[in-house]
């Protein structure tokens, strides 16, 4: 068998995607006009699949901060913090995140993916056990796998399923890590984090919550689902990303445990990669400042989310289980989702196409994400274009 034979199936998959029109995995934006509008093949497109929840990517203050950092500190750090040293902004952002999450420790990573790999591989090792929600993001699966720990899945958001597995672990339960997300990225449903906290305390386990999609979206202060459910101080590790609500790139972990301060000595995805650039640190810090000082961003986001969810629901589409900034429209199968995705793009709306096996219950979805930067008129246009799919 040739080394390249495994790509035969990939080639077939790619042909299938391209034959339907535009390949959803290969969309090129000629330019972006704003946080909610781009240009594809010369045509203006409403962006309804960007995870740009607070719409800060074109925020003037963020851009000014980024430009100032570029001017004063240059384009990149050209190495890891362990080898090349840290810039003051790395430490400042870590302090600001620790303050935001009201915990003593925070750590910045170069991407959200690296944050999950870095935290899980530092925390877990051979002989440890991890209980992972079945709908968890690929980065959480990959981090658990890389750690060498024994991985056991439990049914998505199912307390009974988790409890059964904690019981089965017997003595190992007290040194096990439970891994969940705050808001899940495909359907926009939230974890019962408060109930998970109660379970982990009963068994003496630890809990990691990935708030990648819920930072800036849930909680009075915008910390995420753990804050919204009143258990932020009980979660052992919060991980997240700068690439969604904060409109930049990078990841972080915040923890009430001092051991997080030691992760940087053992976490390979932290140690052996270039640190975030000065411009990224500067825009992230400014975006975090805005997230904290402008609660109206979250209010506008939720107003748009409700408008989008209810509009599509009224059309009779099968959606995710709760109103959220992520609105997933279930399609019959792979062929119909691909055809409808292309029709929406032709009509001037960009959404995400989600296919199995990377989706819950093997479903095929057109996934939209609302933004605080969408105007009500843009939301209505998105709904109108979905309605045209039914004709």
């Amino acid at each position: 068998m040739s080394l390249f034979e495994k790509f035969t199936a990939v080639k077939r998959l790619r042909s299938g995607l391209a034959n339907a029109g535009t390949d959803p995995t290969q969309v090129v934006f000629d330019t972006l006009n704003s946080a909610t509008e781009g240009v594809v093949k010369g045509r203006r497109i409403i962006l309804a699949g960007t995870n740009n929840y607070l719409g800060l990517t074109f925020n003037r203050e963020c851009i000014v901060a980024g430009v100032a950092a570029l001017e004063s500190l240059g384009t990149g750090t050209t190495g890891s913090r362990m080898a090349n040293g840290s810039y003051a902004a790395h430490g400042a952002l870590e302090e600001e995140l620790a303050d935001f999450y009201q915990c003593p420790n925070a750590m910045v990573f170069s991407t959200g993916y690296a944050a999950n790999l870095g935290v899980l591989t530092a925390l877990l090792g051979k002989g440890d056990a991890v209980l992972l929600d079945s709908d968890a993001h690929a980065s959480l699966y990959d981090g658990c796998r890389m750690s060498g720990a024994d991985i056991f899945r439990f049914k998505h958001n199912d307390l009974q399923s988790l409890e059964r597995r904690l019981v089965r672990l017997k003595d190992r339960a007290s040194r096990c890590l439970i891994v969940v997300e705050g808001m899940y990225s495909v359907l926009g449903d939230c974890a019962p984090v408060a109930e998970f906290v109660a379970l982990k305390e009963r068994f003496g386990a630890s809990l990691l919550v990935d708030e990648a999609h819920s930072l800036g979206v849930y909680g009075e202060r915008g910390c995420g689902v753990a804050e919204a459910q009143g258990v932020l101080d009980k979660v052992d590790f919060i991980v997240g990303t700068f690439s969604k609500s904060l409109g930049a790139m990078g990841g972080f972990c915040a923890s009430r445990h001092a051991v997080l301060g030691l992760f940087r000595y053992v976490s390979r995805p932290f140690m052996f990669t270039a640190s975030p650039s000065p411009a990224v640190m500067a825009t992230t810090r400014e975006a975090l400042r805005q997230l904290r000082s402008r609660p109206e961003l979250k209010q506008t986001l939720w107003s748009n989310a409700r408008r989008l969810y209810c509009g599509l629901q009224n059309l009779g589409f099968e959606l995710g289980p709760e109103i959220s900034p992520v609105v997933a429209v279930r399609c019959k199968d792979r062929e119909s989702v691909l055809a409808n995705w292309n029709r929406l793009l032709e009509a001037g709306v960009y959404v995400n196409m989600m296919l199995p096996p990377a989706t819950p219950a093997g479903g095929s979805f057109l996934r939209c994400s609302a933004s605080a930067a969408h105007t009500p008129e843009q939301i209505d246009t998105i709904i109108e274009k979905f309605a045209e799919l039914q004709e």
Binding site: R145, I151, F152, R153, S161, P357, A358, A361
Partner: protein, 90 residues
């Protein structure tokens, strides 16, 4: 109580058939009769997610813990029966 390979294989075939029915896994391949030598991926064309979801049902049925890493060595119902019996005896 010690489980026999034959008995567990038979039960697993039934659980898998039920899983396919309950989850509307409805491809020409998935309607084939499930036997001890059925390969879940090449015969039934289940994807990795469907195999993992089926495994959750198996864990609960036998009240055993099956590590995700074990999946790479499980291809047939017979392979799975071996893993279930080993986990059950722990």
């Amino acid at each position: 109580m010690k489980l026999s390979t034959e008995a567990v294989s038979g039960q697993l075939a039934e659980i898998l058939a039920q899983y396919l029915k309950n989850n509307w896994v409805d491809t020409p391949a998935s309607t084939r009769a499930v036997t001890a030598t059925t390969n879940m991926v090449s015969d039934l064309q289940l994807d990795s997610f469907q195999v993992m979801e089926f495994m959750l049902e198996v864990e609960d049925h036998y009240d055993v813990a099956i590590d995700l890493e074990s999946l790479s060595n499980i291809h047939t119902i017979l392979d799975l029966a071996g893993v279930v019996i080993a986990a059950h005896s722990e």
